[in-house]
Symmetry: C2
Subunit: 403 residues, 2 copies
């Protein structure tokens, strides 16, 4: 049989760029300020080991089987009581365990959005959510953030304008109200209340992606959008930032009707029971408040180190919002700076970051850079920021010389 080399038209939904986060750099000295990862030394390995043994010995045979349910019982209970701590009182059927909140985002989007539907996002926004929205065929519009989160007054204006001109209203707004990735900002109470009202009035859904909410350095707690408007919010959270991402476990809270539809889209039944059983055992073995306290102390300290290094090495060349939680600092350079060009230069100096471009739906964000203070230790952060500043200065002088 002769092999005819025919071409084939693949589906349109395939994005052209890979997701961020992987790297080919292997030098042990390289500083990965690009990685939005948890600090591995804070994973509760010992208890996890006990948990795995217990899970396998006591319920291994069930845990290794398929399951049709919306999550393992103990984990569901843990999520319910933890949600209650944050003012969200959910019933059994308003909760779904997901394969990380990445799956939560994807299910929520696919439940709500037909190809061609309008979806509004923040600028900047989380690249995986943007990817998922593009694959679902959403028409995207973005709204800028400031130090108080997304500018809700602009959203309101746009809604009024759309209503007036009979333009399509959004079906969905995807938002990270707390310790935004990459912005580091938190949506103010006033804006939360207003946004919840708008969702009711204009009948759109909000995906509230609250992945970093627990990593709160101040203790000041704002009401979730879900608690303000449970009818029109799908609330997403994850064990990735508070326990470990490798488990791939997250959850969604929403109205019963929405959760049911999300379940229907979960091909292959629910999330694997094996890791759920291990996590359930783990949660019984750790003092969660204590564990969380350690995470917050470590990440806060890292943030301070990064802030100091940035002030020292960049001076007035960058500005940023001081994040009160989460993983990220979002560096704003002067307009005209091109961080995409800065990437290879920084890599040659031994540091990587994520260029602002990745967080925007269009060609914007070029003068921003996301640096992460969670994964690297203090020494690496200081070294990384110094190297980044050097790269920046070289880039600047190069540009000036040429220009």
């Amino acid at each position: 049989m002769t092999v005819t080399r025919q071409s084939f038209q693949f589906a349109d939904r395939i994005p052209s760029t890979p997701s961020i986060g992987s790297t080919t750099v292997t030098s042990p000295d390289h500083v990965h300020l690009s990685f939005g990862f948890a600090a591995p030394h804070l994973f509760p390995i010992e208890q996890l080991n006990e948990a795995a043994t217990e899970a396998i010995t006591s319920s291994g045979r069930q845990a290794l089987q398929y399951s049709g349910a919306g999550g393992q019982g103990k984990i569901r209970q843990w999520i319910q009581s933890r949600s209650a701590v944050h003012g969200m009182h959910v019933k059994e059927d308003e909760l779904l365990v997901t394969y990380g909140s990445t799956q939560g985002i994807d299910l929520a989007i696919n439940v709500l959005v037909n190809p061609g539907d309008h979806v509004w996002v923040e600028a900047p926004s989380f690249f995986s959510a943007l990817q998922s929205l593009r694959i679902a065929g959403a028409k995207l519009t973005s709204f800028p953030i400031d130090n108080d989160g997304v500018k809700v007054e602009l959203i309101e204006q746009a809604l009024l304008e759309a209503e007036r001109s009979k333009a399509p209203l959004p079906k969905l707004l995807y938002i990270m109200p707390t310790f935004h990735n990459p912005g580091g900002v938190t949506l103010s109470v006033e804006r939360r209340i207003r946004l919840a009202e708008l969702a009711q009035r204009y009948n759109f859904f909000i995906i509230e992606d609250d992945a970093y909410m627990e990593l709160n350095f101040t203790g000041e707690q704002l009401p979730t959008l879900y608690s303000l408007c449970p009818e029109r919010v799908i609330y997403l959270n994850t064990f990735s930032k508070i326990i470990a991402p490798g488990l791939r476990l997250g959850w969604a809270l929403a109205q019963k009707e929405v959760i049911q539809k999300m379940k229907l889209l979960m091909l292959g039944g629910s999330v694997g029971v094996f890791t759920q059983e291990i996590l359930a055992q783990l949660l019984e073995r750790i003092d969660f408040e204590d564990h969380l306290g350690q995470l917050k102390a470590y990440y806060k300290n890292n943030r301070d180190i990064m802030v100091d290094a940035t002030r020292q090495h960049f001076g007035s060349d960058v500005t940023f919002h001081l994040p009160q939680g989460g993983f990220f600092i979002w560096l704003a350079f002067n307009p005209g700076v091109n961080t995409t060009e800065l990437l290879p230069l920084a890599a040659s100096k031994g540091v990587s970051f994520v260029g602002g471009r990745s967080f925007y739906i269009g060609q914007d964000g070029l003068h921003y850079a996301r640096v992460c203070f969670s994964y690297c230790n203090g020494e690496q952060i200081t070294r990384g920021i110094r190297a980044l500043a050097e790269a920046y200065k070289e880039w600047k002088s190069g540009t000036v010389q040429i220009g």
Copy 2:
């Protein structure tokens, strides 16, 4: 704020029926011939326990982190060498570890199919694949199977006819050539060769879902479609049937270009490293051939018990193909029998099965029933088939009396 109860138009892609496999029956005596599950007592629990401990102690911190790669190294190697045993020689970049083959099916479909594209399937076919195809917006056409698998001559006729009349050609054929779920049949060598030629000639892709291939009771081995036509086949397999489904690990083999695109659609990066690390350790601890031998001996014996019980209790009321591997017997009743009506009656007698209807794209399959011999033990199988026969006889006499 008054809650306005507005209605909301959810996305069209949501299916109306849940996937099969879950149940609400909790009586301990109930026989679940509906479950297409592995036998839990054959899970290698002890080695798994060791494997988990080793995985967590030796590489826990990496295993709990995110990963951007296409699978853990040792698992990739295992898959490569196992594929070679079956005549499939794949390179590093022709392989992707997936979240069960359910994700493999979904990724493969989404890489190939735009909404409105034509996809051809077998009748009957695997319900999760049908679900995934519907969500992707595929236009489905089905082709019947007989004891030698799908009738490739009908596919060929349909291709010729479509070409002649300038009707749309399929972009994709989804097929289970070996120990078909639910049919139990295996595609003959001649048909395999012909199908591979047709895929080349008419430039469509084949998804070869080979989930049950290793559970081969005879030792007779046929060439995979992938080995016949690697340019146009996406080959899928899974650890669910040979190790345990709760791990949620499977794999895809395809051309580099296709694998790259599947990776791009994998939101949230690759499959969780944690379970991969555990599986990798497990595969080092078991003698796979030996383990597989135990599975095959047990399942073959169960099949024999089910066949005997069926012959004894049903006599000439049902016919079936004797499966030479896999999990299922596909019972054909006389046309006119309605197995959907039989379901509640059987449940009341303490046995469940899957009605044929679930495996068809239209309203067909009503006089079929899928019974599974892998999950239940011999005693349960005998009792279950007897109860099913009783239910059937009652249904028949009821129908006769009424009619």
